[in-house]
């Protein structure tokens, strides 16, 4: 399973915000910590802002802060803003080879599992997992 660059950037940045609820973080600061282009990150953050996951704070010392509920927002909520996981356009079965249909069935099974996994992991759970990986949990 591979996620697109924008999706990964969104996930890493939303986790940064969720780890410091109430704190205002600058685009430049997060971009530096994620080794990403500030311009690229700003576009990602605008999408997160439109979804209500972060609030932008205007002004010279502006930035963003977390606006979601870490115990409710799942990885799928963030991923779904940037890409469709395994949602191929529906195609008619007629005229397609049996092998094609059978393979599609297996790929759908994999996609369903991926969606269920991303949909069951909240940001709060991810922060606990990060803490454990970091030896803090």
């Amino acid at each position: 399973m591979r996620l697109q660059k924008n999706t990964l950037l969104a996930l890493y940045s939303v986790l940064e915000f969720a780890a410091q609820p109430g704190s205002q973080l600058s685009v430049a600061g997060i971009a530096a910590s994620l080794r990403a282009s500030p311009h690229h990150l700003a576009k990602v953050l605008r999408t997160l802002g439109r979804a209500g996951l972060v609030d932008s704070v205007r002004g010279a010392r502006g930035g963003y802060r977390f606006a979601g509920n870490a115990r409710r927002v799942t990885l799928m909520d963030v991923i779904g803003l940037f890409e469709d996981i395994g949602a191929p356009p529906p195609r008619a079965r007629r005229g397609r080879r049996p092998a094609e249909l059978a393979l599609e069935e297996v790929l759908t099974e994999i996609d369903d599992t991926a969606r269920a996994t991303f949909g069951s992991v909240t940001l709060d759970t991810m922060l606990k997992l990060i803490g454990r990986r970091d030896g803090r949990g």
Partner: protein, 161 residues
């Protein structure tokens, strides 16, 4: 402050009765059946009477636990140790859990899981496992929040109807 916020605030401030996790007894059954029926939409009195018969005794390997707050049953959990299932070393299985919807996010599920996990540990079991429907995001998220990850097994089924 809106009336909604006041109501929520009042609910948060209401002192909670002390939570106690213990083995289930026959008098708990009606409340357990009601909690399960609320979650699944189906009351299963015979099933639960069977669970009480087989898991309700204080046997170490099979446990039917309830969480009690005051005189009220607020949650339940059923689990057991299973040996060498499909080659897997002895493993603690949780196959039933429920919490009253109005008592969720108060640590009741975590307290029940901690109690059975401690029991499994005492029996020398190193892994706890469960099986949840892919679309049951509520329960799936709960177990994830408690640190459970995907097991190295794949459940399979076939429609034989």
């Amino acid at each position: 402050m809106s009336s909604l916020k006041r109501r929520r605030g009042a609910a948060r401030e209401r002192p909670r009765p002390r939570l106690r996790v213990r083995s289930a007894v026959p008098a708990d059954l009606a409340q357990v059946i009601a909690i399960d029926a609320r979650a699944t939409g189906l009351a299963k009195p015979e099933y639960w009477a069977g669970i009480l018969r087989r898991y309700g005794r204080r046997g170490a390997r099979r446990r039917f636990l309830v969480a009690e707050a005051g005189a009220r049953i607020v949650g339940y959990l059923v689990g057991e140790v299973r040996d060498w299932e499909f080659g897997s070393p002895p493993c603690g299985w949780v196959f039933g859990i429920g919490v009253r919807p109005d008592e969720r996010e108060a640590g009741i599920g975590a307290a029940l899981l901690e109690a059975i996990t401690a029991n499994f540990r005492r029996l020398g079991v190193a892994t706890v496992r469960t099986l949840i429907a892919r679309d049951n995001q509520l329960v799936l998220s709960f177990f994830r929040s408690q640190g459970l990850m995907a097991a190295p097994v794949i459940p399979l089924e076939k429609d034989i109807g």
